[in-house]
Amino acid sequence: MILGASITVGVMNLQLNRSSEQATENLVRYFDGTLSRNLANDAASYVLGLYADSATLRVQNSAKLSSSIFSDVGDYSLTYSLYDTTINIAKNDHEVVKLVMRAEYGKSVHEVMVYAGTTFGFVPEPIRGAITASGVLDNTIGDLHIDGRNHTEEGELENFGGVYGISSGSAFTNKGKAVIGGTGEDGSDYPASNPANPLSVEQSHNWSNTFPADPDGVFNFPGGTLKEVAKSGVAGSQYVTNPKDLQFPLKGVTYVDLPEGVSWKAAWLGKDPAGILVVHNSSGTARVENIASETPFKGLIIADKMFHIHVEVLGAVMLLSNSLEKKKICTGNHESKILFSREAIQHATYLTSEKGTGWRGKVPIFGWME
């Protein structure tokens, strides 16, 4: 009887011990798994931050990442590679970089793969159309060719990522018989035509007092940021109060701060103009006329007012004044095109992003897989 009870207790003890060991092992495995997963994701973020500050960063062969980054979590190892490749999204090939991050902690291994864009920068939220304005655009656009569908920086049509051809906070009448296309609210593309498909035009958009009051407002920057960047001269940026002082080619942030009531009546942008062109003054009356260039402007043009648009733009145009041209008529700019290009805008805006502030908001992520 006693012997039987002893054997039973012994077996029970053994089973309990086994269960306890199993539970401990499960706990350790869970702990290791969670830690390696977190390590892989955090390390991927870390490398993307480096990439955001240095677009040329590549690590072709798998390399160890310094173990001092997360030193407080114990013994682990991180290896990664970062190389160029191509992925196909919506029938379009995209050049991307692929980051493979492998974290080992204890017996657990976790791998993260990230597909990141090679074009940094961002498209400011207020850019809702190839031409965006709060005021009445009827007399401003003439018979331009305007296409809000997304284009590459070279002008090739993309299959997604477009905006309206025109977005206005006011009613819009196509007085000049402009050819207009764009991407509707549901993401459908509408080729440029006259008359335009109404879904490619946004009129009377309710900004609810959020329409940018000045160029910095377009980017949600603190007041004076763009002017500071322009004055710094970074990447060829320049600040002038008289257009005759401009240096060519235009690149970086070109800030033309016109005196009140003064128009820039022959705005020649030269060859290969790019970046962010700002024509603004504190009273919001800076007006640019007869704007033209030898080759297309690539990037973002932000002006208080604009008239006689004879320039081809790959990017977008934003007009800040609520009082645009009402009487003068633009009769012959049908050879000029405003083609929305996310890529061109991203290239232009990347310059304005600060180094060392991480990758979020700068590096487009196409996929993050674990």
């Binding site: 003064v262 009546k265 020649w268």
Partner: protein, 136 residues
């Protein structure tokens, strides 16, 4: 000294009054106005140029108070076109014999430009309301 300066300014203001010294008077034509504009450019006489300009809203001749701003606005054009011959093309009137609006076509061959000067008639005189440049 201040008195002399005041007299000088008053004299300049008087000279700059478009009503007292109209550019072409009753025999003004759109073409003559554009020719006068070109003469002002070639001679770097911004006062002459301002006198043939309409205000931006197209409500009348440019007010003297706006001359300085107009000079600044036209500085680039003036530099670009100085000593570059204009070839005058046709004048198109809007509204027949009683037209108050006209367009004078000009070619600046050396710069490969075609230019439309849009003019408005106030009283008997024509004033430049808009300049559209086509870069070829």
């Amino acid at each position: 000294m201040k008195l002399l300066l005041s007299i000088l300014i008053a004299t300049l203001l008087q000279q700059g009054n478009p009503q007292s010294n109209s550019q072409a008077g009753s025999d003004s034509t759109p073409l003559k106005t554009v020719e006068l504009f070109k003469k002002g450019i070639d001679e770097n006489d911004m006062l002459v140029i301002c006198k043939v300009m309409s205000d931006e809203e197209g409500t009348g001749p440019l007010k003297q108070a706006s001359y300085e701003q107009m000079q600044s606005s036209l500085e680039g054009l003036s530099t670009m076109w100085r000593a570059k011959p204009f070839t005058y093309g046709e004048t198109t009137y809007t509204g027949g014999n009683t037209a108050t609006s006209a367009t004078v076509k000009v070619e600046v061959k050396s710069l490969k430009q075609e230019v439309n000067f849009v003019l408005e008639k106030y009283g008997n005189s024509w004033y430049i309301f808009d300049i559209e440049i086509f870069f070829r």
